[in-house]
Assembly symmetry: C2
Amino acid sequence: MPINTVFEALSHPVRREVLSRLKAGPMSAGELAGHFELSKPTLSAHFAKLRDAELVTVERQGTSLIYHLNLSVLEDALKGLLDLTEKKP
Amino acid sequence: MPINTVFEALSHPVRREVLSRLKAGPMSAGELAGHFELSKPTLSAHFAKLRDAELVTVERQGTSLIYHLNLSVLEDALKGLLDLTEKKP
DNA sequence: CTCTTATTTCGTTGTTTCTCTAATTAGAGT
DNA sequence: ACTCTAATTAGAGAAACAACGAAATAAGAG
């Protein structure tokens, strides 16, 4: 959960869009993957980076894996960026 | 200035620290480079990415190049991240 | 015009990222 | 046990990244 891992995870547009879709609510890996024109293994790799950064959490439901957005880490990133704009640290 | 370029630029810790230092005020490339244990060519490449993303602007003063933080693009990134946390849009 | 200073560009090397297909694991149902 | 679906892991290749030393460029001083 080093902040560097978080920013690295946020650097790819596909991963940011995954987060954006999860904003609406938890979703399975397959359903998420259906929104992209990429192979499932490719998406799975993106999911792994998001998990590494703890930007998402995962929960198994039967054969499906349900991904959840982790707001708190996203807020850490937000704070990190805000620190770059504030004059006062 | 596509937002993707901005996030990509923000993904490296050295570049974020460069921005952080510029927060205090404009600074020359050499002075900036002095704060890192990296060669000048390496730093120059990082500066180029920041320029590409328009996160910094540059101004020549004699033989020196003075880098300035560009808050407005940083705010765009901030807004992009905020969009990932908000429930409403 | 030459010399010095400041910074970037060039050429190279090793590492990481992104993508794919093919093979594998995990769970549920028959 | 077998089979289906869901998802990940393994393996491979192209492209991009990050780092360096050496050479090139730009601007001012003498």
